[in-house]
């Protein structure tokens, strides 16, 4: 007889193991299966900077967290309810996050002396009583996997690698999941390439499931029901893939050829990888010799009439600064994507942070304002990329797009957009040779885009100051000031096209939480929670960071307090104070990790308390 199951509202689970243990794959499979089961969900992959850190070491621990729920989900969850630890190092690194009373599934085979020592344990934590606050399930995952697939005929080294499928099968049982999606995935990924591995993985998966059902360990399983998700067609998407898709979409909407000049850098490289595979759509990707060449090649492509993009992370932006200034002077459309990571310098390459805002706003020589937009979630990267292209082409200006490591690698179910509902991005290359002036402007202060190959429009551009209208080199003092103001006015004009700011919650009240970028989920969850308690708290999340929306100042004034949470030392707060003389509260964190909902809720409550 099948064991009984208990209904849960939402569950957060974290898979953790060595980099080589396949935890990302396991997490992704569980994510897709949960999405198919109708849960709302959010994920957070967390992997080490080292490609192959020593086995069993703390530095080599790779984790994947998933929050799946029967109601709307904004974050990957603060504290896991379930932790699967494939070795002592994984336990050591992740235990502090596990909620008291949470489930710990540990692969006891990996808890030998050597691994314990590598993780810095003097005693075996599974045996010394130190885990009494949790529900501990020691399972010999490795040995049972080897036994289950002994008949397949793989050598020991290969066979051991199927153990993550055993763990996945066990967790599938624990949450009453249908394994069909993963079975099909194993077939399609391994059957052709290596049929023995396909068999081993399938058998390990089933063995894990059956172990849950038959072993005396678990008294019952759990069930998380469907969430009330808006009807429609969905797929999972990571921020990097959505960004890349958004760029391809913008190329289609504008009729321009997409050109990406890029140099590999964590965590942005996946955009380059994705676009490199889209040659059949005419996408041109150019892996340059360095970050500067990457942006420079994109500037060349923009001059030649392409939808030109360069992708990077913070260190790359530092190198591209001079060229971004050139693009600003040339008044060419260019999209510069910064998938932020922990800094300064090499910093924390695989961890998330929002500490490049001031760099992209101000990090160039001279008066060089640029439009800056930021994505708020993995799926939102798609629309943000399209918006960036729209601004770049409409105003003939380089636009910076901010993403971050959390958005880039995190996945969420994404309502498949219908391209026919997107407005085209109008582009008109100049062809009229009569009285052509390269720096004459239209109502958006944009200059004409006259591309090589057009007879009669031969002209020169460059980084030296331009004479208004003609674009000839000019050292005239009054002209220089005029041009600096003109370029700034052009960027400011972007605000005229920004739609009214959406306010989540009442239009006025006690606390406005004002955020940007990848903190959206945590803020929205905390504010949602505050609403449930009847608090007058609202959330505004900025997509446009330069220029700000025209209505932003008035909105801020309608709230008694404004809270600005950021994963930096208060960069947006700094800008808002300078811009609006605003009295606001900056709340910051710099641990390479996203905000937790609880810490934001606490900040909101503290502000509300202070009001009384």
């Amino acid at each position: 007889m099948a064991k009984a199951h208990e209904i849960l509202d939402a569950v957060t689970i974290r898979f953790a193991g060595d980099s080589g243990d396949g935890m990302q794959l396991t997490g992704n499979q569980f994510t897709q299966t949960s999405a198919l089961a109708g849960n709302d969900l959010a994920t957070f992959p967390d992997f080490p900077a080292e490609i192959r850190a020593p086995a069993g070491s703390l530095a080599g621990v790779s984790g994947f967290q998933l929050n799946f729920s029967s109601h709307e989900v904004f974050t990957h969850g603060d504290t896991p309810d379930v932790l699967v630890a494939m070795n002592p190092a994984a336990l050591k690194v992740n235990l502090e996050d596990l909620r008291p009373g949470g489930i710990l599934i540990a692969n006891i085979q990996a808890f030998g002396d050597k691994n314990l020592e590598r993780a810095g344990y003097l005693e075996n934590p599974l045996e010394d009583g130190s885990l009494s606050a949790y529900r501990v399930y020691p399972v010999d995952i490795t040995t049972m996997t080897l036994n289950a697939i002994a008949g397949v005929g793989l050598n020991q080294r290969s066979a051991v690698r199927s153990k993550n499928f055993f763990a996945l099968g066990l967790v599938y049982w624990l949450f009453n999941r249908d394994m069909q999606h993963t079975v099909a995935w194993i077939e399609s990924h391994f059957r052709q390439r290596d049929p023995l591995v396909a068999d081993a993985n399938l058998q390990a998966l089933n063995a894990g499931y059956n172990y849950g059902e038959t072993a005396e360990l678990f008294t019952h399983s759990y069930m998380v029901k469907k969430a009330p998700i808006a009807p429609g067609r969905y797929r999972n998407i990571t921020g990097n893939d959505a960004m890349a898709l958004g760029l391809v979409a913008a190329a289609e909407l504008s009729g321009l050829e997409l050109f990406l000049g890029s140099y590999p850098i964590t965590p942005a490289s996946d955009i380059l990888h994705f676009l490199s595979k889209q040659k059949h759509l005419g996408v041109k990707t150019f892996q340059a010799e360095d970050e500067i060449a990457a942006v420079a090649s994109a500037i060349g492509a923009a001059f030649a009439g392409g939808l030109a993009v360069t992708t990077t992370s913070g260190p790359g932006i530092a190198l591209k600064g001079e060229a971004m200034g050139l693009a600003m002077m040339l008044e060419l459309p260019l999209i510069v994507i910064n998938v932020q990571r922990g800094g300064p310098s090499t910093g924390l390459p695989t961890k998330t942070e929002q500490s490049d805002l001031l760099q992209v706003l101000f990090g160039r020589n001279g008066e060089c304002p640029l439009p800056v937009v930021a994505a708020s979630g993995p799926g939102d990267c798609f629309d943000t990329a399209i918006e960036a292209a729209r601004i770049a082409v409409r105003h003939m200006v380089p636009v910076v797009v901010l993403s971050d490591g959390y958005l880039a690698n995190g996945a969420e179910p994404w309502r498949v957009p219908d391209m026919s509902t997107y407005a085209p991005i109008p582009v008109e290359f100049e062809t009229n040779a009569e009285d052509f002036q390269p720096y004459r402007r239209d109502e958006n202060l944009a200059r004409p885009w006259a591309i090589p190959g057009t007879p009669g429009l031969e002209h020169r551009v460059g980084g030296l100051e331009k004479q208004d209208v003609t674009g000839n080199v000019s050292y005239d003092p009054a002209n220089h000031e005029h041009m600096c103001r003109l370029r700034a006015a052009k960027v400011a004009k972007v605000a005229d096209h920004i739609p009214p700011t959406a306010i989540f919650g009442p239009d006025e009240g006690d606390v406005l939480v004002l955020g940007w970028g990848g903190t959206f989920g945590a803020i929205r969850a905390a504010v949602d929670h505050a609403h449930a308690q009847g608090k007058a708290v609202s959330h505004v999340h900025l997509r446009h960071l330069n220029p700000f929306p025209n209505d932003l100042e008035a909105i801020m004034k309608r709230f008694r307090r404004v809270l600005v949470p950021e994963l930096n030392l208060g960069q947006l707060a700094f800008v808002l104070r300078g811009r609006y003389l605003a009295d606001l509260v900056s709340y910051t964190k710099l641990q390479g990790k996203p905000f937790r909902e609880a810490e934001l809720a606490q900040q909101i409550d503290a502000l509300l308390e202070g009001e009384r």
Binding site: L36, G38, H181, I229, A230, P231, G232, R233, Y234, R235, N236, L245, V248, A249, E252, E257, F259, Q278, K279, H280, L281, K284, F286, A288, E289, I292, A293, A294, A296, S297, A298, I299, G300, A301, F303, A304, G305, A308, L326, L330, V416, P417, D418, M419, S420, T431, A433, P452, G453, T454, P455, L457, E458, H459, R460, V461, G462, G463, L464, N472
Partner: protein, 343 residues
């Protein structure tokens, strides 16, 4: 025919030097070698049969990099050292354009060294003209990466310490498929070199010895003075023996250790001389190592080989991919994943 139906393409056959001159005052110092180079390029382009609108000139920073302002083509005066990278973007997106890079010894070999070597090995169809005057001119006279050791300049009052690049050796080492050298004062030869660059598939680079009469006057005088030139100039011609001298009486042979030697032709006979072969990499490198004053200075094409260009292969990959997956849209791509329906 024009790509734009409402505009006629320029008739490439009817172009003249004047069509390539802009209305901007040329602002190099009087007597600067740059004038001659500009004139020869403006003279040569109209002879190539390419519509004016298909030319793009990209430069970096330095005296020579003002060049695009004086060429009535599409042009960009970019930032220091980055012109090859900017130009690579132009060429990658629009292989049909004729893209030229104008650079100098500081721009190309110091701040932009990385971009130069990669533009060469990538063979991306750029035509690069490197004005080598062995000095920083625009910043008013500091030593450059091609200045001779011990050079006294504003930044090296006791003489420079670092050894210079041999630009031709560097270009060959970077796997350039066309490498040549010319002198600013030799109008005809310069025109010939520019024509050969234009005809080359892939990246072509030309080093021009250019006199900066303000900060490094006479750096190449041994080679450009009428008196001494014949003794020092070795004109490279494919398939011809390496001869030079006022009466063509000298030649180059290799000794038994593969070391080049200057000999009297009469003494050894012409058959003993090395014969130039633009496709032989060992010989090209050897010639690049013939350095004044021990040897005559080779001028002309060191290397010219056929190798498929990046831009051609890039375009071919795109065409091939389009053939394999025809008629796809972005919507198809968005849905090229596991898609499920929520009722």
């Amino acid at each position: 025919m024009s790509k734009y139906p409402n505009l006629p393409a320029t008739d490439a056959a009817a172009l003249t030097r004047k069509d390539f001159a802009t209305d901007q005052d040329v602002r190099w110092c009087p007597g600067c070698g740059d004038y001659s180079i500009l004139a020869q390029v403006q003279r040569t382009l109209p002879t190539l049969g390419i519509p004016r609108e298909d030319y793009v000139f990209i430069s970096g920073i330095g005296c020579s990099s003002r060049f695009p302002y004086y060429m009535d083509t599409y042009g960009m005066h970019s930032i220091h050292g980055r012109a090859p990278a900017v130009a690579s973007g132009v060429k990658a997106l629009r292989p049909e354009l004729n893209v030229w890079v104008i650079t100098g010894d500081g721009d190309a070999l110091s701040i932009g060294g990385n971009h130069l070597i990669h533009a060469l090995r990538r063979n991306i169809g750029l035509k690069i003209i490197l004005f080598n005057n062995r000095i920083y001119g625009l910043t008013k006279g500091q030593y450059s990466p091609t200045s001779e050791v011990g050079k006294r300049t504003k930044s090296t009052p006791m003489g420079s310490l670092d050894y210079p690049f041999n630009p031709i050796s560097l270009m060959l080492g970077a796997e350039a498929t066309f490498v040549a050298r010319a002198l600013d004062i030799d109008a005809k030869h310069l025109q010939e070199m520019v024509t050969r660059m234009a005809a080359h598939e892939g990246t072509a680079i030309l080093e021009i010895y250019q006199n900066c009469n303000i900060f490094n006057d006479g750096a190449f005088a041994y080679l450009t003075d009428r008196q001494t030139r014949p003794q020092h100039e070795l004109k490279l011609e494919h398939g011809k023996p390496l001869r030079f001298g006022p009466k063509n009486e000298k030649g180059i042979v290799l000794d038994r250790q593969m070391r080049p030697q200057v000999v009297e032709v009469e003494a050894v006979g012409e058959d003993a001389l090395l014969v130039h072969d633009e496709t032989n990499p060992t010989l090209s490198y050897l010639l690049s190592q013939l350095v004044h004053p021990d040897f005559p200075t080779p001028v002309g094409v060191f290397r010219s080989i056929e190798r498929p260009s990046y831009d051609a292969m890039f375009t071919a990959q795109i065409e091939d991919a389009k053939k394999r997956k025809p008629g796809k849209t972005v919507q198809d791509l968005i849905e090229d994943a596991h898609v499920w329906t929520v009722e």
